[in-house]
Amino acid sequence: MALYEYTAGRLAEMLRTKETSSVEITRSVLERIDAVEEKLRCYVTVSPEEAVKMAEEADRRLAAGDGKPLTGIPIAIKDNMCWKGHRTTCASKILHNFHPPYDSTVVRLLKEEGIVILGSANMDEFAMGSSTETSHWGPTRNPWNVEMIPGGSSGGSAAAVAAGEAVVTLGSDTGGSIRLPAAFCGVSGMKPTYGAVSRYGLVAYASSLDQIGPIARDARDIALLLNIICGHDPKDSTSVPRDYPNFSNSLDKPVKGMKIGLPREFFDKLEDPDVNRVMKDARQIYRSLGVSFVDLSLPHLDYALAAYYIIAPSEASSNLARYDGVKYGFRAENFDGMIDMYCRSRAEGFGAEVKRRIMLGTYALSSGYYDAYYLKAAKIRTLITNDFRKAFEECDAILCPTAPSPPFRIGEKMDDPIQMYLTDVFTIPVNMAGLPGMAIPGGFSSDGLPIGIQLVASHFEEARLVQLSSAFQKETDHHLKRPSL
């Protein structure tokens, strides 16, 4: 096995016993990037020289006995996380040459840990999409079948982990953007509770929904990353001041006696036979571990998607008002006056999906429509959150699919926004309520494409998700399978 194929947890052990060095690991991953990146396009920017320098520094730290748990492990960040002096484009033409003058909090935390940052992973433009096809830099391809989409919006982050182009990555999740690509690429991904990870320096899409989280090969690596990124940050006023546990302590806790809820609204609509089979198998595995099941109802779940596609674009239309061609980013060459400069810079700088969401959000917030759309959606959000609160009085976690189908073909849903939006029907409700959710590999379709299962817990119960996924991964080998490239 080559070094790039190991988990972060295993590599960290090998670094401690001096079986390998951070420079060796980093070079192995960089060689893998050289070998398969052209086929997959997981990255917007790779910085190999700087990665090796960071690895050398990590090796010095480790030699001095000053290492932290993940010192020396190579990571990729999503291209919407500010990294001082490094191009951060959000996969948009409007930020094609933006070099942030500061580090996001997550990047600062990675640097303090001594993690090696390889570069920025591809994504849907401004994280708006479910397939990584709306990137200004072109689509990322699914490592399991390059004709297929990797899911989105953190498609580059998930595909990189699946293909060995990074050991672990960070993504962001507004309506499923970590869990969906993790499921479609056969890796593990967690969206933590809203407020658990600082959003300072994360380019904003929909601020009441956005959350940063880890993508990795197994629950153990997810726990190791959560230990680094969860925590209060005074620079993010929605960051929640509280103590976060050591998530690695939950990896070996038995799940016997736990109660898992199965919301019928999630399963009633499930038509895909492969997804149905995978969900059935997952229930069987948990049952064999001594978990019991309780049937639940989340009566307002069916309205979550419609409410989300009002709330998220509304927030986006406001957040993206800052791209005006004045302080940073793209400015059109020809214009007639100030307003025209804004209109043309934005028209030329944003792609079709971003414009569509700005239009939708602007409409929903405009005079005369606010009550019917935004206010209505915000009230339905309360009802969805209450549904979950009641559900968690009866169970410890919820089990449901991550997506209604296996990955689909590149181009298949690009001209049909509603079909594309429906891809997120099982992930969006979790963001609406601000809950933690995790996708882990649950099996494969008859065509050999990965299918993920999703676990959801109550606010700040990430440790329980780590516990349940770790127990599942001890019984299964789906997460150990790798695509042949």
């Binding site: 006023s237 008002a321 793209f330 239009m359 209505k376 009230k379 309360t382």
Partner: protein
């Protein structure tokens, strides 16, 4: 139709987007489809429901008023498309 081309033009101006006539046509049709899908929300009775702006109870965090370094003018201007001295350069705003 829930949304007319005139409305699309008005919303595009509010959103500061210069759309081509082709885009206007495309977005009218697509926004119409999307808004029709949203109609289902009207089924839900919400008269007594409080709206929710976000999952976290917002409070005003207070901190000590400590002097810390801030962005230098040079760093603030580095990404600007047009600069004049220590300022962002923009087209004439006041006639």
């Amino acid at each position: 139709m829930k949304i007319t081309t005139e409305q699309v033009e008005y919303v595009a101006l509010l959103g500061r987007l210069a759309l081509t006539s082709e885009e206007k046509k495309k977005y009218s049709a697509q926004l119409d489809d999307i808004l029709k899908y949203m109609d289902m929300l009207a089924e839900v009775p919400t008269d007594d429901v409080e709206p929710m702006a976000g999952p976290v109870k917002l409070f005003t965090p207070l901190r000590e008023d400590k002097v810390e370094p801030s962005l230098s003018v040079e760093d603030a201007l580095r990404n600007a498309p047009a600069v004049a001295g220590s300022s962002f350069r923009v087209p004439k705003v006041i006639e």
